[in-house]
C-alpha cells in the first residue's frame, strides 16, 4: 500500500496576459486559471507509483474557489480523491504561509509520500516543497528528473549544473519532480466521467487549526512595492534569406560591435 498526496497549484494561464491586482498580488480573477503544467508531472509520477502496486493518490490544493478546477483536472487524470483548502484569509499569502497551510493539511491525511512539481508557473520560486518538508520534519528529495520508489524509499536523479546526483530517502518523504520525468497523461473520456463521482473535501483554516493571523497578504514577510510591464521591444528589421542571409546577419552583428 502506497498512499501519495500530490500538492498542486491553480495558476493563471501562462499563455494569457498575466498581470497584477491593485494590491500588488497576482491577478487571479481576470485571467483564466488552470492546473499548473509543472504539477501535472507530479500527478503523473504519483499515478505511476500507485498503479505499479496498490494505494491511493490524494490531490491537495490551497487556493480560491476556482482552484477546484485544478483538483478536478488531477482527478480526471486518475487521482482518487481531492482536498481543497479555501479561505478568504489566505489571499496574498507568501510561500511561508502557503507551506504552513499545506503542512497542516498534509498532517490530517494518510500518506507515505508527498509529491510536488518543481515550482509553480506563476511565482516560480520552487521552494514550497523544501519548506513543507522543513515544517513536517521530513526528508526532501527535490528536483528529481527521474523518480524510483522501492517500498518505503525514494531515489531521484537530480541534474545539477555541476553534477548529476542520485539522492535517496526513506520513510515519509517529500519529493519534487521536474518536467524531465516524462509526459503527463491527458484525461481520457472515462477519466473525465469517473472524476465526477470522486470525493473532494473542502477545508477552511479553522479545520486545520491555522490562525488567520499567520497567513494572508497582511502577514506576509515580504512586500511587492511596485510592478511595471517590461517596455515593448521596438520592431526589428526582418530580412528574407535570398542567398545572402548569413552575410546580412553578420553585417548586423558587426554594426552592433559583436563581431
Amino acid at each position: 500500500m502506497t498512499n501519495i498526496v500530490v500538492a498542486v497549484k491553480y495558476v493563471p494561464d501562462a499563455t494569457a496576459d498575466r498581470t497584477f491586482s491593485s494590491d500588488n498580488t497576482v491577478d487571479r480573477d481576470n485571467v483564466d486559471g488552470l492546473l499548473s503544467e509543472l504539477d501535472e508531472y507530479a500527478v503523473e509520477q504519483a499515478l505511476q507509483v500507485v498503479e505499479a502496486g496498490e494505494g491511493e493518490v490524494t490531490v491537495l490544493t490551497v487556493g480560491p474557489e476556482d482552484a477546484a478546477d485544478a483538483v478536478r483536472k488531477a482527478l480526471q487524470m486518475g487521482a482518487d480523491k481531492g482536498v481543497h483548502v479555501v479561505d478568504d484569509a489566505i489571499h496574498g499569502s507568501d510561500a511561508f504561509a502557503t507551506s504552513l497551510v499545506l503542512a497542516k493539511a498534509i498532517e490530517k491525511l494518510e500518506y507515505d509520500f508527498v509529491f510536488f512539481g518543481m515550482g509553480s508557473t506563476d511565482g516560480s520560486m520552487g521552494i514550497v516543497p523544501t519548506l513543507v518538508a522543513e515544517r513536517l520534519g521530513l526528508p526532501a528529495v527535490t528536483f528529481g528528473s527521474e523518480v524510483t520508489v522501492d517500498g518505503d524509499s525514494v531515489t531521484i536523479r537530480r541534474d545539477g549544473d555541476a553534477a548529476t546526483q542520485e539522492i535517496s530517502a526513506s520513510g515519509k518523504v517529500v519529493v519534487s519532480v521536474t518536467d524531465q520525468t516524462g509526459e503527463a497523461r491527458y484525461p481520457s473520456f472515462k477519466g473525465i466521467m469517473a472524476a465526477k463521482k470522486k470525493p473532494v473535501d473542502t477545508w477552511s483554516l479553522s479545520d486545520l487549526g491555522v490562525d488567520a493571523g499567520e497567513v494572508g497578504l497582511e502577514n506576509a514577510w515580504t512586500k511587492v512595492e511596485s510592478f511595471e510591464p517590461r517596455p515593448p521591444r521596438t520592431a526589428g528589421e526582418i530580412v528574407t534569406d535570398e542567398g545572402d542571409g548569413g552575410v546580412k546577419l553578420v553585417e548586423f552583428l558587426a554594426s552592433k560591435k559583436f563581431v
Partner: protein, 315 residues
Amino acid sequence: MSEVLVLIDAPEGKVTKPSLELLTIAARIGEPSAVFFGSDVPSSLAEYGAAKVYQLDDAVYEEYLVGPKAEALAQLVAEKSPAAVLVPATSEGKEIGARVALKAESGYITDAVDVAVDGDSVTTTQSVFAGNFTVQAAVTKGIPVIAVKPNSATPEKADAAGTVEAVSVDVSDAAKGAKITSSKPKEASGRPELTEAAIVVSGGRGTGGDFSEVEAFADSLGAAVGASRAAVDSGWYPHNFQIGQTGKTVSPQLYVANGISGAIQHRAGMQTSKTIVAVNKDEEAPIFELVDFGVVGDLKTVLPQATEEIVKRKG
C-alpha cells in the same frame, strides 16, 4: 559596519562567478562574510571582498542534500545577526535560503536580478511572468534573505582580509534525511557558462537534431550554446543547456535563436536579453516579434554562411 553573510557555491572547490557577484552585492549592504563549505579556502574570496570567511569543513555537507548546509547557515545567522543573507539562485542555494529564512522567521526573496540599498532598506528587482514584468520588492520581517540570479552584478576586486574562522556545527539527524548516494561531475563543454556568457546561441526544433551548425556559429562568436525545450525533450541536447521556464534564464548582451519558434515557455528564459536575433524558416514564428534583427531562412544554410563570414572578417 554590520556583516552580510554570503553563501558560496564552489563545486569541486572552485568558486563560481555568481558567488563572486554576491560578494560584490554584499559590499553595498555591509561587510561581506563568505560562508564556505570545504577544506581549502579559495583565495578569490578575499580578493573579491570577503572580510571574513566562515569555513565549514565536514563530510556531512557533501553526504546529504540541503539540510546540513541549511542548519549550519541558520546557526551562523542566529549567532551573527547579519544585516542580510545572500545565496546564489541555484536549486540548492534557493532551497538552503528558504530553510534558513523559515528558521530565522525572516522574509525571503528569490531570483533577484538587482539589489539596491538605501540607508537601512534593501530593495530587490525581479523579472516575473516570463520576463513581462519587473517587480520591486522588500523584506518586511526579520533579516532579508535574498537569492540572487547570475549576472546581477560585475564581480569587483576588493582586497579584503579574508580572515578564516573555522565553524563546526552539530548537524541534527533530522537534517540528514536525503542521502546523496552518487555524484557524477558534468563534463565541461569548453564553452562559456550559459548563464554567465555575453553571447548565447541557441537551437530548437529547426535544427532537426543536428546542432553542428549552431555550435560552429557559437564558437565563431565565442558564445555559449543553449537549446529550446523541444530540442531537449527530443533528446538532441542535454537538459542543463535548456533555456526557458523549466531551464535556465539567460540575459546576455546578444541572444541568437535558431530554429526556435519562441513560445512563452522559451521567452521566459531569454526575453530580457539586450539584443535578440533569430533565424527561422517560418516568417510567422512568434520569435520575430522580439527580435532586433531576424532572418527568414533555413539555419542550415544561413548559419554556415554567417560562420564563414565571421571567420573571414577576423582574418
